[in-house]
Structures are given as structure tokens and as C-alpha cells.
Subunit: 359 residues, 2 copies
DNA sequence: GTGAAAGCGCTAACAT
DNA sequence: ATGTTAGCGCTTTCAC
């Protein structure tokens, strides 16, 4: 059926191990001429290694498992893409399982992946981090990316939310705002806590007074942002700018401001957080802090591969910093607006323009 | 290290094959008592089959490969989720590779996957469908989901765009509109052609005149929709409703209408296509035809598994119908507005409300 | 630098 | 119904 080492050995007159040493890129010394002959034969015959056999023998599969809470979560595909692109450089592939925010399914996913030929596991946006005896016993390296709850743990990659919040606030201060409101996320999310901390720290750094009257609780959702902004507008001294802990609430806030007959950014500036897709198409286009999700995925993959290949020891939580994406909702001068990276829609268009798809 | 069949054989006194017959759920007859003993031992000892070994022996891996143009494309994650959820029922997992809209990378991806232990391949939103000798030789079953270009081919799953367009137009007609404009997509996309056909057919079905003056070309993008609507508004007899071939152009159209001082849906009704995420949060919330992407992925997985397990013969192109999602931009009575399925954000919230995440 | 032998863990074929 | 034997394709000793 398919070409195997034995076929190439027969065709070239060398033994199977020698052929293996060449084709598996072993560091074992092989005569240069021999190598050439074998390489050529393999190319002509179309040799593809049987990775099951190799994996059985070496206990390495060049495959890692990803357990994501849900591939459809807003950040997950981009995190996964970051992981995949890093892995791709080293001929690793990824197997993806969803845990659907459920501790039991998560355990099941771990069990599934552990018995699979995977060299390690990345947990993406996992909410539970339930202890798994199976996982520990398997000794498979595993790392975490974008943990949503809990205290910092080793081998995890997270966004630097405090830094991100400081960027947003600093930008607004630079624009001349002195009364900057904050719409928070739910308190049990440490993302929200850190962003709040960053907000406060940055105000302090510029000697601006912290006023709890212009800090509103939020729920991450559109409605929460809308209500929060409404509350802020009804204050005796309403803020001139609002920093929202996420984009969805920022969107709600913008609608609330517009519903009150005011304009964003002319009357009130708004900055969001996350750089969700809709911030680019909504008007005014929303200034936001970029969640460095791609880089987080990339870094998590890097860490995992180091653990697999180089036996990298456990590392403390790694924080990744995002940039601020300046658009229209903050009222910055147009010349300051940062260029968006290419979106996939643009790539599609490039195909259409430059290449003729075959019919 | 890890428990294998031999260990269980020793522990129970039975032979390795007998243990295998029980634990691999073979249909081979085994004494009920024996089965119980072995099952119990396996449970206690924590047996996990080594799938590399099994795969080497059986030439089956319970893994399929997915080649997607880009995991970050708007539809891809949902298609993939549909695939995964179907596979999950049969203990199959999926390996995902991106081809980045590039024919060479696509070939590379095919080569990679073919040498991997995968039982079949699903091409998601592939644009090239270049012939691959390697793929043909491998004899691995493969199916296509959401092909973007080209004529219908066997073993592919696509949306029924003509039907979807007819739903949109029928809905607008039901709302009393008689002059319904159409904003098209690029002509070399058969999605666009089919939607146009559906538009025309539905007008005809209701004896409404087709007027090419209110058909505008488009580019799938925001700008194209904006410009198209502007053109339509400048007509002597502007339409009372606009059906846009996708949501992004519908959004552009809505902005153009609003910029002209008119209101959606009061002055002009707008219906989009795709049910992209932003249509739910934008105001007015956009009525749109649902791309049945999840179901398409599900169906593609079903087809592939049938080919793998039951040697299902080649099937003609399978068309999947989507529903219309009635929201605000069409001006339908509020009681007609269809409920959105749960989005992942809602699921997150459920966690927050019902469960206490451990700290 | 190359080859012979062994074996990774499993299941299919053949025996009993 | 259970056990014996063989071998999937590969890489790793260990000889030479």
C-alpha cells in the first residue's frame, strides 16, 4: 500500500535502520553519499513516515492537545491560532477538545487526551482547573493560557491587565481628561480587578483624584454598560471620559450617551478593552486596549514545547502586554489613529483581486 | 509506567488477547464473568489504551484532520464546532491545520495530514481545492464544507443560498414591501449568484416586477454596502426595503440610510445575510438569514464518518437550509422577533450566577 | 558507517 | 470461550 522504510531499504540496498537514520533526521552519523541515495529514493517513491509506528516506538507524537472551554468564545480562536502558528514551526499539530464550562466534561476531556498520543496539553480559557489525578499521573506537561479565575499559578500565560488599563487611562489623560469614569467587570473575575487596579494606579501617577462616585459596577454585558453610563450621566458632575473594562460595555455606554442626546467622543470620550471584532466596524469606531490573545497562545505553545523538548522547569505566571488601539471613540486626533492589522476579510479580497479562482 | 493490557492480563490471570477483546469493545464473545473481572481490574488499575499501538495495528486512529483556510474566518469556528460535536459522539477527535488561502500551503497541509494517523479529512471553506495526488493515493476519505468557488462537486456540504434569499425577500414582501432592492456580492462567488437567483425567483413568485435599477453590485464589505445604499437613495424611485447579500454590507447600508437623515426600519427596511455576531448587538438589531454553519459542519462530519465506517459511497452536493432571524432592522412587529440561541457570553454569565469559581 | 536483533502495545488469525 | 503466535512500521540497542 503505502511506502515504508523497508521498501526504500530494498530499493537502495541499505538496511532499514540506515534508512531510518536518514529519514527520521536522526543525529546519528551516516555517510553523505548514502544519505543522498536514500533521500532521493524516498522522494521519488513518495515516502511518508507512519507516525503511529514512530509514536509507538518513541513515545512522541508531535501532537499536543488543547482543552478550550468553547471554541466559539470570542478570544478562543485567536488564542488557538497563536498556538498553532508556533507549533507549526516545529511540525507539531494540535487536537482540540471543548469542555463547555463544565468541570465534568473537563475531566472527561483530560481523560480523553491523556490516552491519546499527545505530548502535552494546553488549557485555554479554562474556568475550573479542577485537579486531575489522571493528568498528574500521566506526567504530560501542560500549561494554561488566559485563566479566568483564581490566584496565579505556575506555567500559565495571562494578559497584563493592569498595564493595559494604565494605557487606556494614560491615553485619556493625555487627551486632557481629568474626570475619567470606570465601568468595572464582575468582581470575581481577576481581569476586572486588575483593570481596576491599573485605572487607580494611573490616576495616582498623574496626581488625579480617585472618585468612587464615577466607578460603576458592570457585568461584562451590553446592558450593564448602558446602565452604568446612564448612571454616570445623571451625576451632578458627570465624567468627561469613560474607561470601560470591556468593549461590550463600552458599546452599551456609547448607546446610552447617544440616547441622552450627547455625542461620542465630542461630549464624552469612551475607551474599551479587548479589541473585539465589532469595535472596528461600529461607529464611532471604538478605541480599545488590545487583548494580546494571539501572542498569549503563541507564548503558551512556546512554553509547552520547551517543557516537552527541553524539560523546561516550571515557570511563574507569564504576563503579556497589549497595545492600545486608538480609533475614534476617544476623540484623539486622526493622525494618532493606529492602523488595524489585516483582517481575514481583507485577505479574502486579495484572493479575489489577484488570483482567479478556478471554476 | 502506564498500565497496559499485559499488566491486566497478569493481574487477572487471563491472556492479553482476552483482555483486549473486553477492553477494546470487540464484538468477539467473552464470558460475562470474565468480562466483569477484567473490566473491574482495568478500572481499578486505571487502564488507558495506548492509541498509537492500536492505531498501528488497526490502521484506524479515531482522529480526523480539518484543513481550514483560516480558523479566524468568521464562520470557521462555528463550522469546526459543528464537526467536533458530531465527532464527539463517536469518540473521534479533530486535528486542525490552516491553509491561509494559499494553494501551496494547502498542499503542504494535505501532505502533513496524510502522513498523520487520521482516518479522513474535512476541508473547511477551502478556496482552492487543488488536486492532490498525495490525497488521492492515500485513499483517505475526504469531504468539503462551505466551498467558496467552483461548480458543485461530490461529497460537499454547502448552504442553500437560494432558499435563504427567498426567505429574506418573502419576509419583506409579507411586511408589505413591493420595491425591494438587492445589494449583491462579487460575481465570482457562487454564494452571491445563488442569493441573487433566490431574490429574483421570490419576486417572480409574488408577481413583483424585477427592476435592475435597484440591484447594486457589492464587495461583501462595509464600504460597498454604504455606497450601494447611497446609490439607491439617490434614485427617483428609491426602494422601501433593501436585502443585502451579507451582513457587513447591510451594516454599511444602514449607516448610509441614517447619514441621509432617514431611519431604519421606519423609512427603509434592511435585511442582511449570514447572522454574523455583530448583528445582535448593533442597533437596530439586524434581521438576517442564518448561515447554518454549525449544521453544515455537523453534516460534513456525519458524511465523513459514514464514509470511514460504513464505506458510504460518494454523494452529490448536500444543501443545508438556514432560518431567517427576525430582529429590528426589517420593521417586523416585535412579537415576530425570533429568539436568539444562547451565545457563549450568556453561558459565561450562567457560571457566574450559579456557580462559585474556586479561588 | 552500517546491519542484525529486539520490541514499543496492541489486535487479527489461527488454534484449541 | 480462551490462548498462542504473529506482526503492524518504526527506532534503539548492540554488534561489527
Amino acid at each position: 500500500m503505502s511506502v515504508k522504510l523497508e521498501d526504500i531499504a530494498k530499493a537502495t540496498g541499505f538496511s532499514v535502520p540506515t534508512v531510518s537514520r536518514v529519514l527520521a533526521r536522526s543525529s546519528y552519523p551516516v555517510n553523505a553519499v548514502t544519505r543522498q541515495i536514500i533521500l532521493e529514493a524516498a522522494r521519488i517513491m513518495g515516502y511518508k513516515p507512519n507516525l503511529s509506528a514512530r509514536s509507538l516506538r518513541t513515545d512522541r507524537s508531535n501532537t499536543i492537545g488543547i482543552i478550550a472551554d468553547d471554541l466559539l468564545s470570542p478570544f478562543t480562536p485567536r488564542i488557538v491560532r497563536g498556538i498553532q502558528d508556533y507549533l507549526n514551526q516545529y511540525d507539531y499539530l494540535s487536537l482540540i477538545v471543548n469542555s463547555d464550562w463544565d468541570a465534568d466534561i473537563e475531566q472527561e476531556a483530560i481523560n480523553t487526551l491523556v490516552s491519546r498520543p499527545v505530548d502535552g496539553i494546553i488549557f485555554v480559557e479554562y474556568s475550573h482547573r479542577t485537579f486531575s489525578r489522571v493528568l498528574e499521573q500521566s506526567k504530560k506537561p501542560h500549561v494554561f493560557v488566559h485563566r479566568l479565575f483564581g490566584t496565579p499559578i505556575k506555567n500559565s500565560v495571562v494578559p497584563d491587565d493592569e498595564y493595559g488599563a494604565s494605557l487606556a487611562v494614560r491615553h485619556l489623560i493625555g487627551l486632557g481628561h481629568k474626570r475619567i469614569a470606570y465601568i468595572n467587570g464582575p468582581e470575581n473575575w481577576h481581569n476586572a480587578k486588575k483593570r481596576f487596579t491599573g485605572y487607580q494606579a494611573e490616576l495616582a501617577a498623574y496626581q488625579l483624584e480617585f472618585d468612587s462616585a464615577i466607578v460603576q459596577p458592570g457585568d461584562w454585558e451590553f446592558e450593564g454598560g448602558y446602565q452604568a453610563a446612564k448612571n454616570l450621566l445623571s451625576l451632578d458632575q458627570p465624567p468627561t471620559a469613560i474607561f470601560s473594562a470591556n468593549d461590550l460595555m463600552a458599546l452599551g455606554a456609547i448607546y446610552a450617551i447617544q440616547d441622552a442626546g450627547l455625542s461620542v467622543p465630542k461630549d464624552i470620550a469612551v475607551v474599551g478593552y479587548d479589541n473585539r471584532d465589532f469595535t472596528k466596524i461600529f461607529r464611532p469606531r471604538i478605541t480599545t486596549v488590545i487583548m494580546p490573545v494571539y501572542e498569549m497562545g503563541w507564548t503558551a505553545a512556546e512554553l509547552l514545547l520547551k517543557k516537552i523538548v527541553e524539560d523546561q522547569e516550571d515557570l511563574d505566571e507569564i504576563k503579556i502586554r497589549g497595545q492600545i488601539q486608538i480609533r475614534e471613540s476617544c476623540g484623539a486626533d486622526k493622525s494618532l489613529i493606529t492602523k488595524d492589522e489585516l483582517g481575514s476579510a481583507t485577505v479574502v479580497r486579495r484572493i479575489l483581486l489577484n488570483k482567479q479562482p478556478e471554476s
